[in-house]
Structure formats: structure tokens, C-alpha cells
Symmetry: D2
Subunit: 359 residues, 4 copies
């Protein structure tokens, strides 16, 4: 018999997290009569003493939350509880503290909103401590398996598309090749969708090996056809043609910059003689107001996750397939990593439009 | 052996039509070597003499088109060619003129972008005249079967959600109940999705019979819980509780206004004593710049439609299912009308959030 | 010696009110060491017993407020305290109760955010009760004198312009004349600025008498030049050509609709034979997120209003002139009503662009 | 007697240029009966042989242009005609070729849209060749004198504000200090206005010397007050505290990156121990769709510039003062460089809000 559940957000923030939170609280409290505790900063809130958690009031779940990026709970920043970085530099297994936090709060179940990395940790905690875990998929990269879409991706694509929309006029005015570097730690979904939506001429993603000469060739073709500018979008995970990660320049202590966008820009300038400019979109992709689709899916996931708990179905992740929410084993979703399919609809679409992948 | 194809847009305009056009032209000309003729104003362009069509130049298919609402071809306005309204008021079967137009242009195939009404007419023309027809689904109402999404719907949901986002602060400032009437001639998909995304308190759709008293009850409940405002979204196709269409007021000759939004607003004011205001979103839902999802799907549909023609597969409609473009018989898509499923994921989600359907 | 001030929002809500509030609280508490009391629902909060006011915490003045339309204080809805509508229908002078509320709270000064109507009432209260009043101009109509801009106007122009941007593609796709009715109770500033920004073909404002025939003539000219659509924007205060207010249709008790937009649409349909459609923007103009200019001016006004109180300068309104905040007598701002100047820069600009005023 | 005029855009592109173009063409052709020639790529079009110019058709000046960033004419990229970089690296005075181009086209006057650098060159050409020059001020930096606003600035502030709006939620979710680097080659107007509008905690501009320790102190104060994140905005022209320009890292031939944003981010990380992240907004500030204010002012400038030519008033620049377009000597506008006034309204506003300038 469920009486009290916890909810946490884990990993990089994205658009739609607050919408999940609102849906869980409204459904769990008003319809099920449970208490919902919001855990601060992912597993860190459960590790802290006193445990950092607050009882969430359904009447405070204003619709304003639907429009707010980020997560009002904060997210896990400080590290993996199984290898937690201590002040002296050592890594310590603090998993039992997290599990103990769950027990101190008297939780009957835990909703974890995260991506594959977070789910691996949360599952391990659940198995070790007997936690009743339900997962909600969130990753702007959209690389989790078994779900058509994860929370945050649609908004990230929107921001990246908007960036191409804004770069095109200035590219055309100045006869430039604009290179846009977008997020995508391993998968190129953002670059691919935004590239198609925003009219890119070349899309570089980690799933398709490329040659810079072929990209340069595309730029030259465009020029020959009388167009004076081009747009190139590249996922941050892309390496050099030789498979080397692009060396990141450190100027000070921690901050890092440079990266594949600059590399592509420099190489294209050299190969084509064109004037190139690079824009690194970075954190702007995370904090924007959630678009309607992210809000709808987030709330559908939140409601369904509560129903899963009510049905006693744990170690499962909610997922979106063919206009419906279903649920799948978390493990399977993690293991079926969802990279861009080089033979899939969107790559075919891009090729049909004459977009180059540099291959 | 295909050499020349035509393309037309039919029915109400929506976001994404120009993106389809661009994709078809780029793929058909650059990759297949065909000519693409843009037909003016749907079937009217084929009926006109001389036929109103223009050869579409791939180099003119700027990415700027991706961001433009509406259709640069114009859309069918003047009527069904099988019962065409003549100047004297009679209806004339002019279908042979349309078919003759297709032949005059030497078309090998025709891509029709439309909804169920347009597809019925286009299929009849195709059967009568031996036209090679491929359909691309477009309807902001998203009521075509066998495809998760039709072009224009996602952007319409975005506009309707944005409207709720803008009405909420003014509702809260003035202690008001705001009623938003959105499009949806028969299906309530826009109202349902936007209502969930925008934090509506009640959603009225034609698929779920309602009682105004129950909606009023919801408003009263909200008030009792200490919230001083409410948001109600209603699809234009909704009738009175008694199943009567809301009488539309005519002031002059043609313009019409009033409608279900005003009816709901008036009734709620009477039943709850609250100050109510109505907003009819109307044409603002059609012409907005396509959002990225509409652009991606539109272009995927355009490329695949060309491939269908190349494969000699006619009388088929492209469709979106589980992240992929497939194709289905046009007839089947028309016949499997896709209303909101009262037991489906989104209705369940809304109920979980405490949103009232007035039932 | 100031120790405690009150702040209220009065009249119709608009974008930027929360930004004023935040600026006043931050400057007054952190830099001056005062307490700031937020009064609920304008003068109604001071009339209520117990008085409805809350001490505003500077640490709660998150930057999120900058992006929120409306006013978190609520605004005056219930009526003029000098002629307050009682339950039995009588009007009662309750001004002394408001003044007494001010005294009960121990306020040393009052910041009123309002338009001309609100300022008239607030000044009368101030004179009668010895209140130390400072005014901040807010009106989406921008009709207050002595200030280039009032809070809320810029955002309203943005929303109205965006509406024209969205109506243009659908107008062009369907060969239509689109009529957009925007706010502007007496002055046509929104219609004028948005009409210029959004590419309207005709602008109807109360300051310039018009003939519908001349507007129809403009539509005909456009058609003759080969353009198949037109955009008309009209301020809600515009009357028929004969100076009669457009009869508003009442369907139920309170809700009203129809209006000048529908009238113009009907008449143009009759005169030109064109297909016309009308959109009434209504409340969407109020609640949108404040644009940057409204936020900057709102905060500049808020800081300066606090400085005025600190300097003991009362019965004055902050104003924006030539990139600077100044202050002027409230009375003078009210009396110098700022209608559109028919010979001013923007009307000349519109005429230069070939936009018709129907004159 | 004017019969034919030319128009060119010069220097960096920005929002609103196409709106000027449209206004000039509509007013000059329809109302004055002149021809307008659009010159390609600033002075380069006049230097080319044959001269690169096209007769602009008023019927092609669609309102779609109002919504498009950049300039359809292209802008000066290749260099100063008085010191033009030749293929062999030498600089050549090619001013006479430009003047000869003006004569070949039979121009009676020239409208130049530019900033101070462009105006210096255009005036020199005008004086040397007897060109009838009228200037329209355009600079996203808003640093031209005698005009409250130049074209492009308002939109750039909007983009920069939107970026802060998007960075705030992700900053709050991850306990981060976000540093946003915006344009502003010499003046800090964008950083100042966007910083106020977007709720920045610190604003660094070239007009106000700063100490990094004081900025770090502000971050520490915020932390002590219980807020876990901060936003810092910095103009690209800002140097290190010691007045040294930040060394830009070159990786390849031409592309450059790093800069003051990264410097500030690194230094703050070191001084405060906070996790910092930097975003360089770059070209996204230029190409966005013009906001309504830029469109209104652009068109007012365009119409007035035509009127100036008609009145035979040359060597003058149109300007915006107190809601009106006036005209001033170009020379004076250049010489009265308009930096941020450290004692002006906006700096005072920022200080009132508790924003640190690091001084």
C-alpha cells in the first residue's frame, strides 16, 4: 500500500522537468491520496543529513511551472554515490547513505527522471537497497531506446533550429559559411533534426564518418550554383576525420572551449577559401521554456509513472510509442542505445534534400 | 518512366506546406532529374485555361521557405470540381476540365497535399482520369487515420498553447475565467494537447459529451481551493450540451462570429458568477511559422512521396509511424477517421492532472 | 523620514507590472532600508478589513518575475472607491476606508501603477487623505502625456505585429482580406505601430476619420496591382464612418462580442466582393511575457519612483523622455492626453508606405 | 530634379535593413515617381564592372521582407575603397571607381545605411565625387550620436535578453554562474539593457572599469543570501582589469574564439570556487527577425530619407528623437560618439537593482 513517494531529477537539466513534477504531484496527491516528497539535487538530497526533501503541495503546482525550463528540485551535480568525489580527492562508495535517506523518509517508491547514466546508478541503488524505482526518460540527446522521444529533446531541436534560422540571413548578407555546434554527446539526433528543419547544407554526426574534403566539395558546389553562403551543423560528439577528439583549449583553470565546431570552421576556411564563422549553442539548448510537445509528453509520463507505482510495477521506465505511453524494463531501455540510424527516415530525408553528411 | 510531375495544395492552409514543396522539388529535380510543376490554387489551377502552373526551380527553393506559413502555390478556394459553383449559382461537374489540364501539362504523376475532403476529390479525379496520385496528409486537426501526425497540427498546438500561456497571467490578475476557442472542425486534438500543455482546467471536445454544470462545478472547486482564476479551452466543433450547434450571429452578409466559445463563456458566467472572457484564436492558428517538427515531417513526407512515384506506387499516402515514414492506401487513411480516443493516453493524462472534460 | 511604503497596481493588467514591483522592492529595501508592502487588488486591498497587504521580501523577487505578464498583486477590479458598487446596486463613497487602510498600515508613501483613470482616483484619495503619492505610468494604449512610453505598450505592439505576421501567409494562401482588431480604447497607437511593423495595407484609428469606400478603394487598387490579399488593422475604439459606436451583440448575460472588427470585415466584403475574415486579438495583448523594452523601462521607473519618495517629491509621475527617466506632475500627464498625432512621424511614415487611413 | 537614386547597406548586417529598403522603394517610386537602384554589397557593387545594381520593383517589396533579418542587397565585405586590399596584398585607392560607378548609373542621390565607420567612408566619397548622400543609422551597438536609437539595436537587446532568460533556469538547476558574452565593439549598450531586462547580477561594459574581485564579491554575497546561481553579462569590448585585450586563441587560419567571456568565466571560477560556464552569443544577435520597434524605426527612417532627398538636403542623417524622426549633419552624428553614460538612467537603474558593475 503506497503512502509516500519521492521524486528526483538527475543528470543535465532540460526543458520539461517541472512539467513532470507537476503531473506527478497532482495525480499522486489528488487522485491517489499519497504524499510526494521532492528530493533536492538528485541523489545528493538523499545523501545529505538531514535529508534534503520537501513535501510538495498540489496547490503550489501552478501552471506557470509548465513554462519554466530547468528543475525546481535542482539536479545531481556532485557525483555518482558509488564513487563519490570527496574533498581530499578520493572516491568513496556512499550508496548506503542514499539508501538510508530513502528509508528515513519512509518512501514507498521513487520516481527518477534521468537518462541512461542516471538510470544505471538508480537501478544499482534500487537493487542494493530494495528501492521501488520507476524511471522517466529525459535526455536532450534522445538516445534512450524503446521510446520515440525523451523529455527535453524536442525543445532542444527547436532552439537549434531557431539558431539556424537566425544564422541564415547574416550568412547570406556577408557571403559566409556558418558552422553551428549543437549538443549531442554521443548521438546526432539534435543536429540531424535541426539541420533538416533549419535548412542546413551539411550535417555532421558521430554516427556517419565524414571526410572534410567532401564537406568542402558541397560548399564549392553551392557556390558554383550561385548561392553565396552555406550552413553547417555539427554535433559536439563528432571527432576529426581521423577519429581523434578535438583538443579542447584550456585558458584558465576549469573553463573549456573550442571544440569540433571551431575545428570544422577552420578546416572549411582552409579548404574552400570561404569566410567561416562558428557558433557554439551550448547551454542555451537546455534552459528554454519547454515547447508544447515536451510539456505534453512530460505530463503523460508523470501521470503514467504514478499509475505504475499504484500497480506495483517497478524497475520499469515509461516510454512513448505511437501516440501512447507504455512502459518497458529500464534495463532494456538503457541497453538499446538509440543512435541515429544511418539508413533511417531522417537520414534518407536529408540526403533527398541534398544535405551532405560528408560521406 | 517519370519525367514531369505536378504538385498542389488543397483545403485550408497550414504550417509546413512550403516545406513539403521545397522537399519535393529538391529531391525530384536534383536526384531524379524530373521536372516539377507547381499548380496554382489546387485543382483550380488545372481547371483554368491556360492552365495555371509554373515550373519550379530547385535553386529558388531557399531555406527561407521553411520558415514561411501558408502555401506559395495558393490553395483550392473555389470549390469541388465535381460540383463547381458557377456565377449563376448552379453547380457544374467540371472534373473533366481538371483531368484535361493534367494531360495538357503532360504530367506523369500528381502529388496532392490535403486532408480527407481533398483526398476524396483527388482520388475520384484520379480514378476517372487515370491520374497517378500520391497523397501527403495535411490537417491542423490531425484527424487523418494511419498516421501519427499530419502536417500543420504541431504548429497549431503550439499557437494554442502559447495563447493559454498568455491568458493565464491576465486571468490571474483580474480573477477571471478565460475561455479559449480553438480550431478542430470535428476532432478535439488541438484542444486536448494544448489544454494539457497550457495548463487548462477544463477541456471541451466533440468526442466527450459534457454538462455545463460539471464544468461550472470544476470552476467552483478551484475557487474553493483558493485559486482565483481558471482556463477553459474548447474546440470549435463542440455543440451545446443538448447537441445543438451554437447559432452563429450574422451581422452583415458573409462574416460570421460568435460560436461555442461565447456560449461557454456566457453559460459559465451565469452558473458560477465568475467574470468570464472569451478569445477566439481563429486564423492565427494557420499562418504561423512552422515549428521544427512540422518542418521535419513535411520534408520527410515530400522526399518519400517522390520515392513512391519513382517506385510506381500510386493511390497511396505517406504517413508517420514510430519515427518512420511509411505509406498506406489513401482510401484507408480517409476511412479510418482519427478522433480523440476517450480512453487514450492524452485523455487519461488530462484526467490525471485533474482537468475536467465536463463529463 | 520614510520607513514603509506601499505599492499597488490599478486598472487593466499589462506586461511589465511585475518588473516594476521587483525594482521597487529591491531598491527600497536593499538600498534605502525601507519596508515595502504589496497591496492586493489595487485600492480594494486597502478597503478590505483586515487590509490585504503583504510584506515583500527582496530575496523572493526572482528574475523569473521579469518574464511574467500580469501582476502578482492583482489589480483593481471592483470599482472606484468614490462610487463603489454595493451588492444592492447602490454606489457608495468608500474613499475614507481606503485612506484609513493606508494609515492602518503605517505607510509613509504610496506608489500607484496605473493609467489616467487610476491616477485621477489615486490623486483624489491622496489629496483627501494626505497620502504621499508617486505614479508610474502603465497603459497598453500609450495615451498618457509627457512620457514617450508607458509600461505595457511595447509588448502589446509586439503581440499585434506578430498577429499580422501570422495572418499574412494565410491571407495570401486563400486570397483573403484579413481584418485584425486590436486594443486601443481611445487612442490608435497600437494599431498604428503594429500596422507599420506588420505590413498592414490599411490602418483605422479613432484619430483619423475614415470612409469605408476609401478603404475598399485601397483593397481594389491592391488587387489591380496583382496582389491577391490585404491586411487591415483597426483599433477597437473606431466607430462607424458615421461616428456611431458599433452595436455589440449580447448573447448571454455579461459576455460581449462583435465590434468594429466585424463591422469593417462585413462592409469590406460587401464593397469589394473579397473574402474577408476578422480576428479579435483581445486579451492576448495583455498577458504575454514582457519584452525587453518594457522590462527595462519598468525597472527604470521603479527605481526612480523610490528615489522620488526618498527626495520627498510627491504627486509626481515618472516619465521617459529621450532615453532618460524624468518626473512630471501627475496632473499634467493626465491632462495632456496623448492621442496619435495625425501629422506626426508615424502617420507620415504610414502614408509614405502607401498605407491607407481611409481618409 | 531627382529621377533615380541608389541605396546600399554597409558594415555588419543587422535586423531591420530590409525594412528600410522596402520603405525607401515604396515611398520613392509610388509617391515620388523615382527609380531606386539597389547596389550590391555596399560600395563593392559600385566598384564592380559592370556595376552590380538592380532596379527595385515596388510590387516585389512584400511585407515578408519586414520579417527577414540581414540585407537582401548584401553588405560591404571586401574593404574600404580608399585602401582596398588587392590580391597581392597591397592596398589600393579605388575610390574613383566607386564614384565612376555612381555616375554610370546616373544616380541623383545615394542613401547609405551604415554606422560611423561606413559613414566616414561614404562622406569622403561624397565630398570627393559630389555624391548626394543621405545616411540612415544602423548599428546594433547603438553608439551613434544624436539619435536615441539606431536600426538593429533593439532586436540585438531582445536576443541577448532571451539568452539570459534561457540561461537562468539551467544555472539554477546546476548551481552555476553563467557568463554571457554579447556584442558591443566599443559601447556596452547591449550588455546594459539586456542585463537589466534579463536579471543579470553583474554587467561588465567598457565604459566602467571593473575589478574582478568586486564581481567575485557580488557572487559570494548572492551565495550568502541563499541563492545558488548567478548571471553575468559582458560586452565583447571589455578588457582585463589591467586594460589588456584578452588574447584570442587562433587554432587554424582565420577563425578566432575565446575572448573576454572565457576570461571572466575562468577568473570567477578561480576566485569564487563556483562552477562557471560561458556562452558567446555571437552572430545570433544579428540575423534574427527584426522586432516591431526596429521595423517601425527602419521604415520611418526610410520614408524620411526619401523626403530629405526630395528637399535637396544632403550630407545629413535621419535620427530618432522623442518619438519623431529628425535629421542631423552626418558629421556631427559620427563625432558625437554615444557610449554608455556611467551616470545615466540605465546605469542608475542597474545600481538600484543591486547589479554590480565590478566597480
Amino acid at each position: 500500500m503506497i503512502k509516500r513517494i519521492g521524486i528526483l531529477t538527475s543528470g543535465g537539466d532540460c526543458a520539461g522537468l517541472n512539467a513532470v513534477l507537476r503531473a506527478v504531484v497532482l495525480h499522486a496527491t489528488s487522485n491517489k491520496g499519497w504524499e510526494v516528497l521532492g528530493l533536492r539535487q538528485g541523489t545528493a538530497g538523499l545523501m545529505a543529513r538531514p535529508v534534503e526533501a520537501e513535501l510538495l503541495d498540489p496547490y503550489a503546482m501552478s501552471s506557470v511551472l509548465l513554462r519554466q525550463g530547468g528543475t525546481v528540485l535542482g539536479t545531481t551535480n556532485r557525483g555518482d554515490p558509488f564513487a563519490f568525489p570527496m574533498a581530499d580527492g578520493h572516491l568513496l562508495d556512499r550508496s548506503e547513505e542514499v539508501i538510508e535517506g530513502y528509508r528515513q523518509l519512509g518512501l514507498d517508491a521513487l520516481i527518477g527522471i534521468g537518462g541512461d547514466g542516471s538510470f544505471r546508478i538508480l537501478r544499482r541503488l534500487a537493487q542494493q537497497g530494495g528501492l521501488n524505482l520507476v524511471g522517466i526518460p529525459k535526455t536532450i540527446d534522445n538516445d534512450l531506446g524503446l521510446t520515440e522521444i525523451s523529455i527535453g529533446h524536442d525543445t532542444a531541436v527547436w532552439i537549434a533550429t531557431e539558431a539556424l534560422d537566425r544564422l541564415q540571413p547574416t550568412a547570406a548578407s556577408h557571403d559566409r559559411v556558418m558552422v553551428l555546434e549543437v549538443m549531442g554527446r554521443d548521438a546526432g539526433h539534435i543536429a540531424l533534426s535541426a539541420g533538416i528543419a533549419g535548412g542546413a547544407d551539411a550535417i555532421l554526426i558521430p554516427e556517419i564518418p565524414y571526410s572534410m574534403e567532401r564537406v568542402a566539395q558541397k560548399i564549392d558546389d553551392i557556390k558554383r550554383q550561385g548561392r553565396n553562403f552555406a550552413l553547417v551543423i555539427v554535433a559536439e560528439a563528432v571527432t576529426t576525420e581521423h577519429g581523434e577528439p578535438v583538443t579542447v583549449t584550456h585558458v584558465g583553470g576549469k573553463a573549456t572551449y573550442g571544440g569540433i565546431g571551431h575545428y570544422v570552421s577552420d578546416r572549411l576556411a582552409t579548404l574552400t577559401g570561404a569566410e567561416t564563422r562558428v557558433t557554439v549553442l551550448g547551454h542555451l539548448q537546455r534552459g528554454a521554456p519547454p515547447d508544447p510537445r515536451d510539456r505534453v509528453i512530460a505530463q503523460a509520463f508523470g501521470v503514467h509513472a504514478v499509475d505504475l507505482i499504484d500497480a506495483g510495477k517497478f524497475d520499469r521506465m515509461v516510454a512513448w510509442q505511437n501516440r501512447r505511453v507504455i512502459d518497458v524494463p529500464i534495463l532494456e531501455a538503457i541497453e538499446r542505445y538509440q543512435a541515429v540510424d544511418p539508413d533511417g527516415t531522417l537520414v534518407q530525408t536529408a540526403r533527398g534534400l541534398g544535405i551532405s553528411f560528408g560521406d
